[in-house]
C-alpha cells in the first residue's frame, strides 16, 4: 500500500484552507490608528484627565457622567487643575463631542480598530461631521 501521494496532497490542501484567511494580511501589520484632534481640542490642549487615563478609562468617565447628570442633576465637572467641563457626551461646548467633533476620525477610527461598538449613538446625536 502506498497512499503517501494522497496523504501529502490532503495535508497540503488542509494547511492551505487553514491559513487562507490570514493570507491577505500576511506581512502587513495594521497600523494602530492615531486619533486626530480637532482645532478646538488642540486649542484646549488637554482632555478631562491626562491622555493615558483617557485612553484607558474614558468609558468609566462617561458612566460616571451619565449617572451624575441623569440621576443627581449635577452637570459640571471640575478636574484636578480646576478646568470645568460640561458633563455631556454629545451636547454643547466642553462636552466630549464639543471638543472631539470629528467623531468618525476620532472615536470611530479607534473603536473600529479595537472592534468596540458603543450603542450610545442609537440615541445620542452624532455631530454634523466636519472635514478637517
Amino acid at each position: 500500500m502506498n497512499d503517501k501521494k494522497w496523504i501529502i496532497t490532503g495535508l497540503v490542501i488542509f494547511v492551505m484552507i487553514v491559513i487562507f484567511p490570514f493570507l491577505p494580511n500576511f506581512g502587513k501589520a495594521v497600523p494602530v490608528p492615531e486619533p486626530e484632534l480637532t482645532p478646538e481640542a488642540k486649542a484646549a490642549g488637554t482632555c478631562v484627565l491626562p491622555k493615558a487615563e483617557m485612553k484607558a478609562g474614558h468609558m468609566k468617565i462617561l458612566d460616571l457622567w451619565r449617572d451624575s447628570v441623569v440621576r443627581k442633576g449635577k452637570r459640571t465637572y471640575v478636574n484636578d487643575s480646576g478646568k470645568e467641563f460640561n458633563m455631556s457626551l454629545s451636547s454643547g461646548e466642553k462636552s466630549c463631542i464639543g471638543c472631539h467633533s470629528n467623531k468618525a476620525e476620532f472615536c470611530d477610527r479607534c473603536h473600529d480598530y479595537a472592534s468596540v461598538r458603543p450603542y450610545c449613538w442609537d440615541c445620542h446625536n452624532e455631530p454634523k461631521e466636519k472635514k478637517l
Binding site: 442633576g73 459640571t76 451636547s91 446625536n125
Partner: protein
C-alpha cells in the same frame, strides 16, 4: 521573637490605630486635587417642583398647540401617524378623560367642550417608580419623576402602573420619523424598546431655564416649588380652587388645575 499574648495585643493595637487614622489620610488625599462634580451655578433648585394649569385662560386647541410644539421639538418627540405607536409627553385631552371621577352627567357647557392639557403628574408617591424593576424610573430629590433611559429594559410595568397614561412605549425607532433638520442636536432621541415621558425639563432647570411648555404657554401654566409657601404656585393655590387628577388614588399629583 517568642509569640506571646502580650506581643499579639501590641500588634493588634497598632493595626487598629492604623485603621483609625485611615480616613484622615483619605481626606488629605482628596484635598490635594480639586476634582469636583457639582450643579451648574445658575441651576434652578426646589424641594418639590409642581405646576398649576389655569384652565380659565384656555379658549381652544389653538392655545395649547405652542406648548406641545415647544416640548416635542426640543425633546425630539416624533410625530408617528399610527395612533397605536404614538409618543406623547404633553397633549390635549377632554374633561371626561382628564377627570373621569368628576364627570357629572350634566357638565357645564364650557368644560364639556374645553381642551385640557395633560402631562406626567410627577406624583409624590409614584406607582411607576414602585414597579420599575431596574430603577430606570425614579424620583429625584426635587420631586421630578425621571427616566434613566440607560437602564430602561422596556418591560412596560411603569405604563401599567401609571393611572394617567402619561407614558409612551417606542414600538418604532423614533429616528424613522424625525428628519435630520428637525432633530434637536442638544437632546438625545430615544430608541426602539424604551418607555418615555415628560421630564419637567430637568435639562433646562439645570441651566436656569423654565420648562419649555411654561415659556410657551402665555400664562396658562405656572411652574414652581410646591414646598415653598412663597412660591408663585403656592400663591395661586392659596387664592384659587384647584383640582388634581384621580386624587383619590393617593398618588399625590404635582399638577393642579384651576377650573
Amino acid at each position: 521573637m517568642k509569640n506571646s499574648r502580650r506581643n499579639f495585643l501590641k500588634i493588634a493595637g497598632i493595626s487598629a490605630l492604623g485603621f483609625g487614622v485611615e480616613p484622615v489620610f483619605d481626606a488629605f488625599a482628596v484635598s490635594e486635587g480639586q476634582e469636583e462634580i457639582r450643579r451648574n451655578k445658575n441651576a434652578l433648585t426646589g424641594k418639590r417642583w409642581g405646576m398649576v394649569v389655569d384652565t380659565r385662560k384656555i379658549h381652544s386647541s389653538h392655545d395649547l398647540e405652542p406648548m406641545i410644539e415647544a416640548c416635542h421639538s426640543i425633546h425630539n418627540v416624533p410625530k408617528i401617524p399610527n395612533e397605536n405607536h404614538e409618543i406623547k409627553w404633553i397633549w390635549e385631552e377632554e374633561f371626561e378623560h382628564v377627570f373621569p371621577n368628576k364627570g357629572n352627567e350634566y357638565l357645564d357647557e364650557r368644560n364639556k367642550q374645553l381642551p385640557f392639557i395633560v402631562l406626567c403628574n410627577h406624583c409624590e408617591n409614584p406607582p411607576c417608580v414602585r414597579v420599575c424593576p431596574t430603577k430606570a424610573t425614579f424620583k429625584r430629590e426635587d420631586g421630578i419623576v425621571m427616566m434613566d433611559f440607560h437602564r430602561c429594559i422596556g418591560c412596560r410595568f411603569c405604563m401599567a402602573g401609571c393611572p394617567y397614561g402619561s407614558r409612551s412605549f417606542n414600538f418604532r425607532d423614533p429616528r424613522d420619523f424625525l428628519s435630520n433638520d428637525e432633530t434637536d442636536p442638544l437632546f438625545p432621541t430615544r430608541m426602539k424598546g424604551v418607555v418615555e415621558k415628560c421630564n419637567f425639563c430637568a435639562e433646562r432647570l439645570a441651566v436656569g431655564k423654565m420648562p419649555a411648555c411654561v415659556e410657551a404657554s402665555h400664562g396658562i401654566l405656572a411652574f414652581g416649588d410646591l414646598n415653598d409657601s412663597d412660591s408663585n404656585v403656592r400663591k395661586l393655590l392659596k387664592s384659587n380652587y384647584t383640582i388634581r387628577r384621580k386624587q383619590s388614588l393617593g398618588t399625590g399629583p404635582s399638577v393642579y388645575y384651576i377650573v
